[in-house]
Symmetry: C2
Subunit: 347 residues, 2 copies
């Protein structure tokens, strides 16, 4: 019950109240084994009755630890990162760490400057889908880094097993009867995109499926909308999009043109963000356990702080195909789907 205007009480106040020295208070709170039980309980009582909270700045000054962790994401508006952040925040809080968050606005320069600014204020940093070069990462102003969504030599990281997810998606489509599928690629530079391409290629080769790569498109709803017509023109009976946002964009534009999903075209997304289950039809997608990813990444970080090793470990997240209603058998020759309406965009 701290009074409003009152100065926050310091370790000195507690020491006085308990009739001991500040050192004893510090130890009673931080190293319980070193003080007499009776003394300790006296200190604890005094501390709680004064509502004492240690000043973290002072502690940090001497220990060199801040008790803070940082998370940098390319875009706070992107749902993909929300649950990573949520998981990270929860795990950090459980370890009594606070979480700084910052938005690099998808720009490497901004990310570097955030890194620079945060480095001194945190014990460790989680970089989500970093845009930085491996070079820049290696000479970062802080070496307690964990990466999410990208693998760089020498830096611990947490990555989804995109290749396996891709394999699951392709297999699913193959079982449904599809023999020509298209991949709607994301940004060239993106590590995830490269992984997904590799997985696609391997899976298609194995199953004898004809694959084509469209794009790259902007990894957004708008990117999907723009890509919808080319996708249709490609002749593929199924398309796997770089991510859910793109898939939803494609679905949206297709719906506006009167092209039915999945009757005319099957559609698979990536990530399983919330919106994937909200569309009509709900999207079949490769789920990435993002919240768990956040938790695990923070765990790796905390481990690294404690032991100081784990330099190059990499945690690979299992992905799983969530089959909803945007995939089905390919259209049959005998029962052609109706002609699409004219493009609503040009009207």
């Amino acid at each position: 019950m701290t009074l409003l205007g009152a100065q926050p009480s310091t370790i000195k106040d507690v020491a006085r109240a308990a009739g001991v020295s500040v050192a004893t208070v510090s130890r009673a709170l931080g190293a319980p084994g070193m003080v007499h039980d009776a003394t300790r309980s006296r200190v604890l009582e005094a501390a709680s009755s004064l509502g004492y909270r240690p000043n973290r700045a002072a502690r940090s000054l001497i220990t060199g630890r801040t008790g803070n962790l940082g998370v940098i994401v390319p875009d706070l508006g992107n749902p993909y990162f929300h649950s990573v952040l949520k998981g990270a925040q929860a795990r950090a809080r459980a370890a009594d760490h606070a979480v700084f968050v910052a938005d690099s606005e998808e720009q490497a320069g901004e990310e570097a400057s955030l890194l620079e600014a945060m480095a001194r204020q945190v014990d460790g940093l989680l970089l989500c889908s970093s845009r930085l070069t491996a070079r820049a990462l290696a000479r970062a102003p802080i070496d307690r880094l964990v990466l999410f969504g990208r693998r760089v030599h020498g830096v611990p990281s947490v990555v989804p097993d995109s290749a396996d997810g891709m394999r699951q998606a392709v297999t699913h489509l193959h079982v449904l009867g599809h023999r020509r599928i298209a991949y709607l690629a994301g940004p060239r530079r993106s590590w995830s995109d490269q992984q997904r391409r590799k997985g696609l290629e391997a899976a298609c080769r194995e199953l004898g499926i004809v694959q084509s790569v469209l794009g790259p498109v902007s990894p957004t709803f708008a990117g999907g909308v723009e890509a919808a017509d080319p996708v249709l023109a490609s002749g593929a009976t199924a398309v796997i999009a770089y991510n859910d946002l793109v898939a939803v964009g494609v679905a949206h534009h297709l719906a506006a043109r009167g092209v039915r999903v999945p009757e005319r075209l099957s559609l698979v997304g990536f990530d399983d963000i919330p919106v994937a289950s909200m569309t009509t039809p709900p999207l079949t997608t490769v789920a990435v356990p993002t919240e768990a990813a956040g938790r695990i990444a923070i765990e790796l970080l905390l481990d690294r702080l404690g032991r100081g090793d784990t330099a190059g470990s990499c945690f690979e997240l299992p992905t799983s195909l969530v089959v909803r209603q945007s995939t089905g058998p390919p259209p049959t020759r005998s029962q052609p789907s109706p002609e699409p309406r004219p493009n609503p965009r040009s009207s």
Copy 2:
């Protein structure tokens, strides 16, 4: 160019390099008017060549300021808060403040404990849609608070003008010809819900529209899905949902039942979260400038830190109706819409 293993340089190092005392360095950096220009540039050069960054913990220890701000949201997974956070983060960064973020998981208890934990580590706190009682807020362990999405006596706040948004929505529906509309209410305790009800009632009374209130429902997609059948049964020709998530849920379930929007039922959401424009049909909704809200809230907070006044100011955000394609004229008697399909949930 700091080397990797090197100790970060301190103000002492800079002082030695520039041949001055630490006090001069401190002043050269913090109070430029107090030192000779020549000295100052010597210091600046030394500082930059050493890559000097002041230790914020040490500074904070003496000034009592941390340079950090906190944002607490009920749910990091809720898109409504993402752009608030984004705006807040951007504005804070522009003022050289870092942002802590935490998730109260919609629980007042958790929120209080976060408040307690953060109070000492930040200069000010932004509480989004706080679940705390006015009492609890008044005796918070920190008095540099700003509220978003709620108005409490004595606490500065930023709130959307929901009542006006509601008026715009109702007017829009009235112009289209609707005379019976339903409001699908959100959580009873929610301040926003109360505002929206008031606005609805006023607007309907003025325009002579019959209104009914359904719910309350959970302010989520699932809540909307569950409410869809009752909405249909209510006999209203248009429904305004507590928020977009609920509206999208309703639309989703309606689509699955074969009920056409807006031909059979017009649908209006609230907030204009990204998903509102991604559905088919895109959702007509009352837009709340959430990113601006975050910016403004932080500005209020920074103001408060500087001057120390602005105790009870309240900033009201203008809302604006975004007309998309989920609203249209009510169905006519002469052209009844087809019978809805059986509920897909019960099959």
